[in-house]
Amino acid sequence: MDIQITEQIIIMLAALVLLTAFAMLVQRKIYGLISLFMWQGIFLALTTAFVGYIAHRYHLYISAVLTLLLKVILLPYILRMLIIKLKISREVESVVNVTSTMLIGIALVIFSYQLTAPIRQNSAFVAQSIIAIALATVMIGLLMMITRRNAVTQIIGFLAMENGLFFAAISATYGMPLVVELGVAIDILIAAFVFGIFSLHINTTFDSLDVDKMAQLKEDY
């Protein structure tokens, strides 16, 4: 394949990752959220494979497959089981003020573009501007964790943040060493399990997944 076309495809996929991040920010339905997370994983895996192709770093193919297994198949499966267990699969979350949340998201994109300017100057990577997108994805994940109140949604926000980090690693330094990547993958998997158990406990204790309810833990003097 032509280098130029590959580059164009990588940039397109980066834009799609950002698009899914924004879509997750405003998605109300929890099932929709999980499928968006799945799509983000697919785009991420494709980007990894294409970057591996263009830079001749063949270990990136392995991490692409790893991403596909973990983020497209395993994690969505775990999350689906979790929401079935919690009986919230039909739940529609109230999202406060979509428009201003999205405005903050756009501000974050501009901020990360400015912030990554020095990195972009020193990077040898063909599509350096992707680093800005990666950082923006991390921040939008964080924003999602801040604005949502449902515990499961916050888990998905956290996982989206991790997607952004992984993306940043690929775009800045052609991915992390395979050992580190494997470690992170297992870490994420364990984290998903722990989060799941936590949300089950939150649900049995408070009868709701709204984390605001945890303010009741505070003792009154």
Binding site: Q4, I5, Q8, I9, I11, M12, A14, A15, L16, L18, L19, F22, V26, V98, T99, M102, L103, G105, I106, V109, I110, Y113, A127, S129, I130, A132, I133
Partner: protein, 316 residues
């Protein structure tokens, strides 16, 4: 003066006039198939228009000239836009008269008069529909303009003919851009709102509480109603044509290539058939939104369009 471009112009306008009801018939047919019903003829919209044209006009007692004038104006403006948008071939005589911004403006004139006519007779529903239309339009128009600007950043022109020419010259890579992904999404959301399809409005029902566009037509009858209905069918056709010209310009004939026209016509039919299937798929799988959620929907469209413009500067 060369006569050929004007003949082509005429052909294009005829395609718009004939194609718009046919496309609506196609949409209804797929919808029937999807819902397991037996569908009416593909030409049913023509029969409906014919029936309306042959009926007498009933005017309300206190209808002013605006009410009688509006159907002709809306129909005329829609035809004019049809002469500007490159549906089949670029660089038609009319295409230099107006760019995309002017097209948005022309749509606005048509909408303005429709809203006035809705209020003219003084029924409660007409006024309600007018206010709803204006609310949606005030949000959709800026989003539409930003989408247009984003696309014209690539081709350095706001003229639709120029955009099509630049994109087809640059090959398949030209539309494979991040800013186009965002713009396409924003454009789809706006087109749905502007042409009154599900999830913003439902063209098939006459349920007073939810309808938007239909409320303004309630008082119309006979040929006036026929013109208004025909104009709204053409509006749908035109919005798809604009989207087609910008986001998938392949197959539109270049200027002066007469031999490419049959091929362009073939591509046109294929694209419209596919778009019809996609449209029906969306309409069947989505539920209509509450009215007050449309502000959020269109706000999101505006922000996605803005994001598209940003991504042009960040990524390209």
């Amino acid at each position: 003066m060369k006569i050929l471009p004007y003949i082509l112009e005429l052909v294009q306008v005829l395609i718009l006039l004939v194609g718009a009801p046919l496309f609506v018939g196609w949409i209804r047919r797929i919808k029937c198939w999807l819902q397991g019903r037996k569908s009416p003829s593909l030409f049913q919209p023509y029969f409906e228009l014919l029936k309306l044209f042959s009926k007498d006009v009933y005017l309300a007692e206190n209808a002013s000239w605006i009410f009688r004038f509006t159907p002709y104006l809306v129909f005329g403006i829609t035809l004019l836009i049809g002469a500007i948008v490159p549906i089949l071939i670029i660089d038609l005589p009319f295409s230099t008269t107006a760019d995309v911004i002017a097209i948005v403006g022309l749509f606005a004139i048509a909408r303005f008069f429709t809203a006035l006519a809705g209020m003219d007779v003084g029924t409660a529903f007409g006024g309600m529909g007018s206010s709803r239309t204006m609310m949606i339009a005030s949000l959709a128009e800026p989003a539409m303009l930003i989408t247009v600007f984003t696309v014209s950043l690539t081709s350095h022109s706001t003229s639709l003919s120029q955009i099509v020419q630049t994109l087809t010259n640059n090959g398949i890579l030209a539309t494979l851009r991040p800013s186009f992904v965002f713009s396409l999404w924003a454009f789809l959301m706006i087109a749905v709102a502007e042409t009154g399809r599900v999830p913003v409005d439902n063209p098939d029902t006459h349920l007073e509480l939810t309808m938007i566009h239909e409320t303004m037509l309630l008082e119309y009858s006979g040929r006036h109603l026929a013109l208004m209905e025909w104009a709204s069918m053409m509006k749908l056709f035109l919005f798809i044509s604009i989207g087609k010209a910008v986001f998938m310009p392949w197959g539109i004939a270049q200027s002066g290539q007469l031999l490419a026209i049959p091929l362009a016509l073939f591509f046109l039919i294929i694209k419209f058939m596919v778009i019809g299937v996609i449209l029906v798929g969306f309409e069947t799988s989505l539920a209509k939104m509450r009215l007050f959620r449309t502000t959020e929907f269109l706000g999101a469209a505006l922000l996605i369009a803005t994001l598209g413009m940003l991504s042009y500067f960040i990524l390209e």
